[in-house]
Amino acid sequence: MREFLAMGGYAAFVWSCVGLSFAVFAGLMLTARRRLRSVRGRIRIRQRNAAPDEGSWELRA
């Protein structure tokens, strides 16, 4: 086990790569989901609030 963790003396390099990679994977997954959720929320809010206020152009002549 200790041998595995030491990575033949390259532990710092290999493990920081592994850590970085998984951090990026996790970050991508979380931010993508959060983005989708926030966009949905924004659309819902807009549809609830905006509808009556939205004036529309009309001809008056």
């Binding site: 595995f4 592994v18 990026v24 991508l28 807009r46």
Partner: protein, 249 residues
Amino acid sequence: MRLPNWLHKFASPPHFYRIAARIEPWMLWSGLAAIAVGAFGGLLLAPPDYQQGDAYRIIYFHVPAAYLAMQLYALMAIGSAIGLIWRMKLAYAIAAAAAPVGLAFTGLALATGMLWGKPMWGAYWSWGDARLTSVLVMFFLYLGYMLLHASLEERSTADRAAGILAVVGVVNLPIIKFSVEWWSSLHQGPTISRLAAPAITWDMLWPLLVMVAGSVLFSMAVTLTRARAEVLLRERSARWVRDAAEACA
């Protein structure tokens, strides 16, 4: 020039939204499983390299990231080009979704490349290396695309403007790579003692292939999730958007 009919049908935003929502979890979880298997195989099962020792294991993380950095740039540029030519909002949505994912993988490729370079070449960075420099340029092109997109307020304007940048960038990238290569082949800089790549054995190869496949699936899943959000933003006046937003409250 018109798009073929079947593509038009597939590219109808509600259709895309539904299909993407359905296949996305499969891609995500199979991708993550493949990444787990590949990481396990690469870190534990594969034998150490007789020249590079255990440090070579970094390639199991570096190669997929570098591959995806390029693929996602191609996706972004092709999406932008289709959007510019056929004014297809879905293509713009996919391009805009690919950009942050590509930026993350490009950054990861740079970081892992540097961590690999230190034990191998004795330096984190070498300006003489064409690949490093062109990946760095690609990083800035991604960054430029995203910053330009973010700073233009009107979404359709941002899509078109950033799309033009992506297309100009994709034409320029091979030129950049080639010119840096040519530069470094003539430049009397610090010569890099790149270890001659020995034929890689199957024990070492299969985790790499599994990692690449898993990362591709994972990145496609993430890009699809983002693309769904972007499609919703761009199809704001359509009725199905309201239904989709309400359905998954």
